[in-house]
């Protein structure tokens, strides 16, 4: 596969964490309303007064039923949309500073990669747009493909890939810039058992190098297995933030399982 000899431009300023206590992500009373240009009645408030932080080295999970507002929080964090109210920072800087995105990897819930690219070409393309240098990409891409079990399919057009293979490639794409913060939105979609193990290993690896992970899922077992803390989003509001153990204790009347505790939160949130 022919690769470019261009050199990625230097990132526009340091994006490392200012100090160990500065949260990687901090949302304070953030709200988001999707507006309709033509019909005001079609406006949707997706997130209301949400506040949370993700500390360095932490694996934070976002749980909640469908259409609760989890993905909107991810989109706000990644500057895919702008908050309607409140303040939010990434690596201690406002969300408008896009240079901090260079330290973030993003696994989308439903990838639609250009089907005409091979796996290697895709990682080059996305790596280049993450401002990773060519020299680094040349050594990192084979390692990443091996890591996600696609090392023998690197030069194959991804049009031939199954959904699970595309999801693995999506994970490799998110790791191409060695992110300090890995954001994964429903990453287990389409993954088999081996794929799920791979995901857990990736989370452990990020944590081992003092990075953080934001895992968004509605699968409780996945979140419970890897997360240090969780936030529960119900009906556009963050109704709980804390550890899994505390979640179990907080529910009433004393539930027998995490699932019951979560359902209790959902009921209270909707009420």
């Amino acid at each position: 596969m022919a690769v470019t000899t261009q050199t990625a431009p230097a990132r526009s300023g340091p994006v490392a964490i200012p100090n160990a206590t500065t949260p990687l992500v901090e949302f304070v009373n953030v709200s988001k309303t999707y507006k309709d240009f033509w019909f005001k009645s079609r406006c949707v408030q997706a997130v209301r007064d949400v506040s949370f932080r993700i500390e360095p080295g932490e694996v934070f999970g976002l749980l909640g039923p469908n259409r609760a507002g989890k993905t909107t929080l991810v989109k706000l964090l990644l500057s895919l949309c702008q908050p309607s109210a409140g303040t939010a920072t990434r690596f201690g800087r406002p969300l408008a500073d896009r240079s901090t995105l260079a330290r973030i990897g993003y696994v989308h819930e439903n990838h639609a990669f250009p089907r005409y690219l091979t796996a290697v070409a895709l990682l080059e393309y996305y790596g280049a747009l993450s401002l990773v240098t060519y020299e680094t990409l040349r050594t990192r891409i084979p390692q990443l493909l091996k890591r996600v079990g696609l090392d023998d399919r690197g030069n194959e057009p991804i049009a031939r890939f199954s959904k699970g293979m595309l999801q693995r490639l999506g994970i490799a794409q998110a790791l191409v810039n060695e992110p300090q913060l890995l954001v994964m939105d429903e990453p287990t979609e389409g993954l088999d058992l081996n794929g799920r193990h791979l995901l857990r290993d990736v989370v452990d690896e990020v944590r081992a190098r003092k990075g953080s992970v934001l895992l968004v899922s509605h699968v409780l077992t996945e979140v419970a297995a890897v997360c240090d803390r969780v936030g529960v989003v119900v009906n556009s509001r963050l109704v709980y933030t804390g550890s899994m153990a505390a979640l179990l204790k907080s529910a009433s009347p004393s539930p027998r399982s995490l699932e019951e505790a979560l359902n209790d939160l959902y009921r209270r949130g909707n009420g």
Partner: protein, 386 residues
């Protein structure tokens, strides 16, 4: 955000557009059309009747100048390439009244469509003291499979073929097909599930749209250069006439495409639908062409001068506000001196005389409209929630 990151992004997206063109087959389709046209050009032969070599003092074979009527008649019976062959020479018009004023230059109005300019014939006859050359060669296409076409002058057929290729293939059918074929590039790129990951990269948001837009322009520019350069080379090799003025078409065709692709980009950003981009951009081009043609016609035909003020204002405002595809076409034909070979689509000298047509201003206002359309698209892209 720093400029190097934006430039770097644009470079990658240009490269990605070429990959997309190759994968979708459009690259091979367009290149195939170019190769086909080159092959046809290579089969073109220009033949002239055998002539005795001149040593400098001999007079060329010609009709005597003392018989100007006969001379002009003979010259006039030689139809231009693609002109009078099918319609007869000067259909319905007698030469005699025109040739009565032989001593004075004849002043003739607009020629009938497809016929030779009478004034030119008379000028040729008068300018050549020895008479009118009997240069009556033939142009053969596809090695003579198409019946040979008689011609006047030995370098005009090459220009005639160039005019056909530039105005009908590159700036006409080719441009419309390219608009249709590339219309899907931006909507596919802007699908939320495809662009979301790119939007989460540390590059300026606008550079993603600019990169893809420029990618399509560079791709079209590449194909246009390939077509013009390839057919020029093939024609030159086949005929021995190397006429570089043909290359002036490239920037003009590219500007024409850029203006209308801006509209396609706006549709792509607002609708994210390939169908809307294909149909919308073609309908918009046709609407602009009709507006452009209607305005020029209204200026040229006296009976149309009495239009209602409201309609006339609408026509004039529409002409200046919208892109002007016909004007691009007319400027291209002017660049290639098409008026010496073919009937005019619009009487541009008369429009210029009336002060109703300024080619440079026309191009600039069309480009201005393109910039406005692209700016709206960029604003929408920058402010959209994905």
């Amino acid at each position: 955000m720093n400029a190097p990151a934006a430039i770097y992004t644009i470079q990658w997206l240009i490269r990605d557009t070429f990959r997309q063109a190759r994968a979708s087959g459009i690259f091979y389709l367009m290149t195939g059309i170019t190769v086909l046209c080159m092959a046809v050009c290579l089969t073109i032969r220009i033949t002239a009747p055998p002539q005795l070599p001149l040593t400098g003092k001999e007079r060329k074979e010609s009709l005597p100048a003392s018989f100007p009527t006969d001379a002009a008649t003979v010259a006039a019976t030689v139809p231009c390439f693609g002109a009078g062959a099918s319609q007869g020479v000067f259909p319905g018009v007698s030469l005699a009244p025109l040739l009565q004023g032989w001593e004075e230059p004849a002043v003739v109005g607009a020629r009938p469509r497809g016929a030779v300019e009478y004034t030119e014939v008379v000028k040729v006859a008068k300018g050549n003291e020895g008479g009118v050359d009997l240069q009556t060669g033939h142009i053969e296409i596809l090695f003579g499979a198409i019946p040979p076409i008689r011609l006047v002058g030995d370098d005009l057929p090459v220009r005639a073929v160039q005019i056909h290729l530039a105005s009908f293939v590159a700036d006409g059918v080719g441009l419309l097909l390219a608009l249709m074929w590339t219309a899907g590039f931006l909507p596919t790129f802007l699908e939320p599930s495809a662009v979301s990951v790119l939007l989460a990269k540390p590059v300026p948001r606008w550079s993603l749209l600019a990169g893809k837009f420029l990618g399509v322009l560079v791709y079209f520019g590449f194909q246009t250069t390939l077509f013009i350069g390839g057919t020029w080379l093939a024609l030159s090799v086949a005929t021995g006439y190397w006429d570089p003025i043909y290359f002036l078409c490239i920037p003009l065709v590219l500007l024409h495409f850029a203006v209308f692709f801006s509209f396609s980009a706006l549709l792509a950003v607002t609708t994210r639908s390939t169908g809307a981009c294909v149909i919308g951009s073609i309908v918009f081009w046709m609407m602009c062409y009709a507006m452009n043609y209607g305005r020029h016609t209204a200026m040229l035909i006296p009976e149309l001068q009495n239009l209602s003020p409201a309609f006339a204002f609408t026509l004039e405002a529409g002409y200046w506000l919208f892109p002007k595809p016909l004007d691009f076409h007319l400027i291209l034909r002017d660049l290639l001196n098409a008026d010496t070979l073919f009937a005019r689509v619009v009487d541009t000298p008369k429009l210029i005389e009336q002060g109703a047509w300024k080619p440079l201003l026309s191009v600039l206002t069309s480009l201005g409209t393109g910039v406005v359309l692209l700016s709206i698209a960029a604003y929408d892209f920058l402010t959209t929630d994905y």
